[in-house]
């Protein structure tokens, strides 16, 4: 009986999903979220298709390496699916990115425990240390295209301590409000303002020191 019921529910979900996807236009997030909340994995994977670029980008920029970013992104989507019941509407993309940001922090902790890689604390301690950014001198001439420019900027971002990097990315790139970031990071608004202020100053200094990396941008 339970099996029959599960089959009926799955069939209903499939029909609803096909109906939502039909008609030649992309269904809105809300519709897919509703279907996914009913256990429709296809609907959720449509949301994954829609936002995996944003989630992976944030993860990569926060962690600085591809492997960790992939793990964090995958975990973020699984966590989001499991936590869909808690999603009470609003911007699904922001909600997903918040989960990804938290997942990245966990991933960083895991990696610290695993192989003693640079940790949150270590990056925080490095805040006042001399700046070190990756050497791009070999590819300066190549950094004229937009893609390369982005990489140059990402390399500057990675020179920031994790907390500042997270705040800058969420506010200046993903357009989160200050109080949203404060809530996400479980810190005060004042702390977030301070992190953003210091992060921007540091980023500007880095940019001024390595202006040649961005020569393509001036063209």
């Amino acid at each position: 009986m339970a099996r029959f019921r599960a089959t009926v529910v799955a069939l209903y979900g499939w029909i609803a999903y096909r109906a939502a996807m039909g008609g030649g236009h992309e269904p809105p997030d809300e519709r897919l979220v509703l279907l996914a909340k009913d256990g429709n994995l296809d609907a959720f994977n449509s949301l994954v298709d829609r936002y995996q670029g944003a989630v992976y980008s944030l993860s990569y920029r926060l962690l600085g390496h591809r492997e960790g970013a992939e793990d964090a992104s995958q975990e973020a989507f699984i966590s989001a699916y499991r936590a869909l019941g808690r999603f009470e509407g609003g911007n699904f993309r922001s909600w997903l990115l918040r989960i990804a940001a938290n997942q990245c922090k966990d991933e960083l902790r895991r990696r610290k425990r695993k192989d003693g890689a640079s940790s949150l604390d270590a990056t925080a301690e490095r805040d006042d240390a001399p700046l070190e950014i990756p050497d791009h001198s070999e590819g300066i001439l190549a950094i004229v295209e937009r893609r390369e420019l982005s990489q140059a900027l990402e390399s500057l971002l990675l020179a920031l301590p994790f907390e500042q990097r997270q705040a800058i990315l969420l506010v200046d790139v993903y357009e989160f409000a200050y109080d949203e970031v404060a809530e996400l990071t479980h810190t005060s608004l004042g702390t977030i303002k301070s992190r953003i202020h210091r992060g921007r100053e540091r980023l500007r200094t880095l940019y001024a020191d390595r202006r040649e990396l961005f020569s393509g941008e001036r063209r």
Partner: protein, 274 residues
């Protein structure tokens, strides 16, 4: 002007430059910054760099995902064995923990206060004292009542003796009755004025007998209605107050135990989760 501003006179301009990236400078602030950067090359360069970085950040393109992050039922099932790692833990345990702390604290403070009142004699601790006082007060009243009765009811010593004996015999049961009323019985609601013996006018044998009977009645009346009733009520009130205090103490103790048990349970749950 503070020391930091003296050392770095352009500090406030630098702060304005950083804030300008949010685009929420007031018109007056923007005008002041513009007029300053028109004359200060250093701040102008700083502003230009800040705006360039802000533009670059806003235009940072999305990276292409290196693979699909589609999830499968197997992935969900595997992760279901672990607690959800996202976000902060639900607000409910934290709220419960705070609530349990509050309840335990209040219960402990109230319990201490009630115990202090109890021990210092403000309530139930007075019970025994009140009983003792009641006991002696009743004795005194009884003696007064029988004394006045004997002196008023007869002119003859025999009658006095006859009147005194049964009254004395009556003392113990009446006493018990008083005690009974003090521990739950209803004392006489309206105190009557003291009455004198009726047999005082005819000192015959019958009159003596009557006088003795009357004395008995008078004694009982004086005992039940007049002198004792106020004390009995007082004692009953003290006893009731004592009972109330006991109930409050037990209730507070139960609340404290419940609060501490909740704290322990929530602490364990939190430890397990972390």
């Amino acid at each position: 002007m503070d020391f930091a501003t003296l050392l770095r006179p352009h500090r406030r301009w630098h702060q304005l430059i950083v804030r300008s990236q949010d685009g929420d400078l007031a018109t007056s602030e923007r005008a002041r910054l513009a007029s300053h950067t028109a004359t200060c090359a250093n701040c102008a360069a700083r502003l230009a760099d800040s705006l360039t970085v802000a533009t670059l950040l806003r235009g940072l393109p999305e990276r292409e995902a290196p693979r699909s992050f589609h999830i499968t039922s197997a992935m969900v099932a595997a992760s279901a064995r672990e607690p959800l790692p996202i976000g902060r833990p639900s607000g409910r345990p934290a709220f419960l923990l705070r609530g349990a702390q509050l309840v335990s604290g209040i219960a402990a403070a109230a319990l201490v206060a009630v115990l202090v009142i109890d021990v210092s004699g403000g309530g139930g601790g007075d019970n025994d004292q009140a009983s003792v006082e009641l006991f002696s007060a009743k004795g005194a009243t009884f003696e007064n009542a029988s004394g006045s009765n004997s002196s008023n009811s007869t002119g003859a010593p025999a009658a006095t003796a006859a009147a005194s004996a049964p009254t004395a015999a009556l003392a113990a049961p009446t006493y018990d009755a008083g005690g009974g009323s003090a521990s739950g019985g209803v004392p006489s609601p309206s105190p009557a004025p003291p009455r004198t013996g009726a047999g005082a006018e005819a000192p015959t044998a019958r009159a003596v007998a009557d006088g003795a009977k009357t004395a008995d009645n008078d004694t009982q009346n004086a005992f039940g209605d007049d002198a004792l009733s106020a004390e009995v009520r007082e004692a009953a009130r003290a006893e009731d107050g004592g009972d109330t205090l006991r109930i409050v103490e037990i209730g507070l103790a139960a609340l404290l135990v419940a609060g501490l048990a909740s704290l322990g349970w929530l602490g364990l749950a939190r430890g397990r989760r972390s």
